[in-house]
Subunit: 375 residues, 4 copies
Amino acid sequence: MVGGGQGAFIGAVHRMALRLDDRFELLAGVFSSQPERNRQSARELHVAPERCYADVAALIEGEAVREDAIEALIIVTPNHLHFDAALEGLKAGLHVVCEKPMTLTAAEAERLKAAAARSAGHFLLTHTYAGYPMIQHARELVAKGELGALRHVQVEYVQEWLSVAQNDDNRQAAWRTDPTKAGAAGCLGDIGVHAFQLAQFVTGQKVARVSASLSTAVAGRALDDSVQALLRFQGGASGMLWASQCAPGFENELTLRIVGEKASLSWAQEHPNELWLKPLDAPSQRLTRRSDAVSEAVARSIRLPGGHPEGYIESFANLYRAFADDVQGDGQAWLPGIEDGVDGMRFIEAAIASSAGDGVWTALDGDERKGGRNG
Amino acid sequence: MVGGGQGAFIGAVHRMALRLDDRFELLAGVFSSQPERNRQSARELHVAPERCYADVAALIEGEAVREDAIEALIIVTPNHLHFDAALEGLKAGLHVVCEKPMTLTAAEAERLKAAAARSAGHFLLTHTYAGYPMIQHARELVAKGELGALRHVQVEYVQEWLSVAQNDDNRQAAWRTDPTKAGAAGCLGDIGVHAFQLAQFVTGQKVARVSASLSTAVAGRALDDSVQALLRFQGGASGMLWASQCAPGFENELTLRIVGEKASLSWAQEHPNELWLKPLDAPSQRLTRRSDAVSEAVARSIRLPGGHPEGYIESFANLYRAFADDVQGDGQAWLPGIEDGVDGMRFIEAAIASSAGDGVWTALDGDERKGGRNG
Amino acid sequence: MVGGGQGAFIGAVHRMALRLDDRFELLAGVFSSQPERNRQSARELHVAPERCYADVAALIEGEAVREDAIEALIIVTPNHLHFDAALEGLKAGLHVVCEKPMTLTAAEAERLKAAAARSAGHFLLTHTYAGYPMIQHARELVAKGELGALRHVQVEYVQEWLSVAQNDDNRQAAWRTDPTKAGAAGCLGDIGVHAFQLAQFVTGQKVARVSASLSTAVAGRALDDSVQALLRFQGGASGMLWASQCAPGFENELTLRIVGEKASLSWAQEHPNELWLKPLDAPSQRLTRRSDAVSEAVARSIRLPGGHPEGYIESFANLYRAFADDVQGDGQAWLPGIEDGVDGMRFIEAAIASSAGDGVWTALDGDERKGGRNG
Amino acid sequence: MVGGGQGAFIGAVHRMALRLDDRFELLAGVFSSQPERNRQSARELHVAPERCYADVAALIEGEAVREDAIEALIIVTPNHLHFDAALEGLKAGLHVVCEKPMTLTAAEAERLKAAAARSAGHFLLTHTYAGYPMIQHARELVAKGELGALRHVQVEYVQEWLSVAQNDDNRQAAWRTDPTKAGAAGCLGDIGVHAFQLAQFVTGQKVARVSASLSTAVAGRALDDSVQALLRFQGGASGMLWASQCAPGFENELTLRIVGEKASLSWAQEHPNELWLKPLDAPSQRLTRRSDAVSEAVARSIRLPGGHPEGYIESFANLYRAFADDVQGDGQAWLPGIEDGVDGMRFIEAAIASSAGDGVWTALDGDERKGGRNG
């Protein structure tokens, strides 16, 4: 594990998730760039002192000579450190689990993609929400044509936790609003990219163009704290994306609504165990997380009978378990990976460019000619 | 009453609304352009045969000489007939109740505004949703600063009833998708303008600029059946507006969310008796329609104790009752009127222009210079 | 109208309900036992002074000789005055609309039943909630066997408004907690009987036996302010009934859940436009108030398209409109009437007797032998 | 671990729960009475073959001589095996984690209590729902007097999974409906006792008396599949308890509502991350699972920020983690233990006796004199 030392949020989540199914064991790490904090974190996590390394290079070198060497590298640092660590990991042939956004730029993302193509290591980008069974079921419903042609895709990810200027004590907030660590995107990169990935994941369609407006509500903040965008999907659907981290009263409201010609779907992350199917001229149905009501593939992401709530950790653990399966030869093509990372970075860059250009429709693949009337 | 003959939807609603409080009586009308249907409608509505007129001019002339002449004209025709009828009514000094959208063009709206300024008649534009007590309460909460400076305004109005190409039997659908009767805007003019008015009504702020994308999902339809737009309010808030009439499973989902620096509000028309107040870092509150929990002004729109649901008809009746009060000298400045109509037509025209211009930010007041970077 | 003078709650509701469809006109009344309040109420209600009577006898006598005499008597007084007024009305051949509970005792109810059998007048007991379309639809679903044999019936009616000892200013509260006016039952008679009627109405089954526990939470109150009871239906279903008027935070939470062998139903009065159908091993469905999704009979109680909320007043008006149809020969057998009143009074007396007897199972028809093991 | 072999449901849940926080390790077990299934289960669970024992006696004997002996015994068998295993474990000085209902009879429960008093081992009864942070917060709100004196306690636990006669393949269903394995109570013992424990846990009050009605809806079933009961708490509150396992459409609907003189609380297990506080004459509040909004004690049961759902496994893991703390000297007095088990068995026996006696109010402590008028 790289990052995730004392006080880190997402590192602790990764550890719970990997423990849940007994498929991973935490053996080594670079938990902090501060030596004492690094050592202390290792101690607390029952990692042997000699496997607590000063940096990623040392870790790879040190592990390479061990018989019980690590097989996978988990990267849970702030954004600016993702690229180098992932690249080194892939080059060393390790499997890599990496937090989003994958890199700081689309160019870096492309380089990582190339490295992954040359590596024996598998790559998992932890877009957590793809691990929810009802999201996977939604994806299958769309793929099977239950909605017909898609018309609208409305995705939102709204939080309150950056509603006021943070003090320096809040480590989570500090790096996320610091361009040198978070990159050029604030809210857009932290959660907007989750919303984007979720929309692509469930629709099975790529976003072709975006018209975006970034804004910063909190005085003195260097990066955007909200983004509002219109989207065009390659399949023709029109979409809207709203992400904000300065919205009082919204805890973690990631919601997705998909409108098709035959039916619509609605899902909200805060109540992840239900999915609404809204057929044309018929009663809406509350689909629940039941292994007897989904495909075998989706049922693998279900641990408990319906009515026994599963949550964020189980969703995360589903990614880890499926990644273990994937690595062991039981291919799990749905897992978020390099391609999601490249798309996410392109989306971030296109949204920033569009916003800078007064909302001009901007193609994600950089081909200007594809921008056009109403995207 | 002009329009509202047999089989009409909104005319029947107007009649229930005006009866509820015993402040209006239906005395005369032009219920249909088809003579037999006109006569038959009058009979069913207990309107005396001699007060069933062939057209508005005849009605005004016929009533003018009666001792028990009508005092108000209610216009519930398809859109293209609003302007002439309203203009004649105002010129005759009658009070006018008119359905939205007020006219076919902003230019007509301006002319009507001028006519209203010269007339002794009062003018009510039936933006129904302003009649809901919790909407009025929301408006007061914003005005009193309970939310602080506004950041985001998300408004949606989504329906399913035009999801497929309608057959000719559906009179409601037929004229709404016919440009000669509905005007240049389909969904945008039918319900988009409701969403727009509601957002302005509750925020107390005007929309300065819009970047819109209209689309038509149903093949063969001449007008838009959905619109997605980014908004900029004069007070600086950024907004999004989504209206669609081709979204399966959505019955009449008008929702409004307002995000301020101190708290957010959320309201959904399908559950109109509750309003969510979501303060920063504190539990969300479910405000209910209780006369002891709102101002005296809002309490006038409440008929029943909390927990006894009021609905669409009561909301409509609130407009009528307040209009009666207004006409009788008890001014009800909040009532939607000419100004709302002018703004609505400007919004429609700006949205159409923006969409035609590839989403370029377009000022509602026609002043091009106000369009600019990100609106 | 008898009762319903200035400041009265339910009288005003009746008047809105009867106006809504233009099938009734308020012509005469005894609005208060206080002469000045009586006269003043008549004036406000546009009732001619000479048709404002001192008591029911005078009203019946006075109207009898008029050409434009009233046809129906509406009784909205406190409970203790229901019986005499209804009896006089029926004897005079008038149609009678009466508030619940119908009388003070089951014996009175039986006498009224006998009088109704001899009268040309029709009788409507205003159990409001039977007027909701989704309740009527639920009743049809049960009758058609969509649920299979019924297993459980859970009904609740919970309010907060009598949570503390009321001061004398609250006229509504005062008589409801005064045994000389309300009768022997407090909460049980005021809302418990609504819950009871609703359960019988929707299931189409009579309650055979009850085991009840009444209690009084507010010190100094002479009557019960809550009741908890187990029920046995004649068809074998077991039920529970909870009514309370001293439950903080509950506005008017009347809810009904019916469990059958094939499916369950759930409905809540505060969201009356939806009904949940919960089939075995299949997604729950949100049925909404749509005239195209219910029988023709139920569709008559629907005024607006789905998604346009209807509420308490519309439900009430449905009773009035159907009563007008019934009186005019278009029989509406479902309307709550004398039989509901008799059953309600038997339930009240059985519940009081059971509670006094330590919860002994008590038959509603007074046949002791039917009480037995677990009812 | 005793029980929990291949195909078992709750055993797998226990294992996920104990792994989540890295405080327990599964080292030995008696996973099945069938030798091959026992061995196979051990293999799958990475338990050394020599630590896979034939029965509990062998396990205790075998482990006693090991240096790395187990410290705790986890009992996840059908009910009839709980008592012996728990007794042996306690006698051997082991910590014991036991599923509910604790034993088959209250007498056994008392014997276990005596054994626990003499043992150095700690005892955890896995009433899962006590592990939910919002339940713990509710308990503190009641204890701090935020609700005032309690008036009503409504608790329900309703499932559909035994709605039809099960076939023999369903191992979960088979033993639960077999009196020789489940004991004298079916639904009552399987989930009714959870509802009972939850009500006592949150109110901090013991149930003094019960008037119950058990029933069996599914033909051929030997035990009850539903129970409806009235309760009296020692503090005076009146309550109702409904449990059913034959209710179509109910997945795992455990709900608790507590009505106090100042406010009410409402919680539903299927949405465990929110708790409704309903004050008198004020807006209801949606309390969410936030560590900054609860006491330090409750915050220990929270793993993620608000809006990131936690569920059933996390709740279960909270019991395990707190039990580890408790065992290591950091007393966690709130943990469900022997006393809950004794109370639960008394409740089961009192409910059965009451139902057999036609619903007579029955004291839980066996003191007949305490039964009385309305309990």
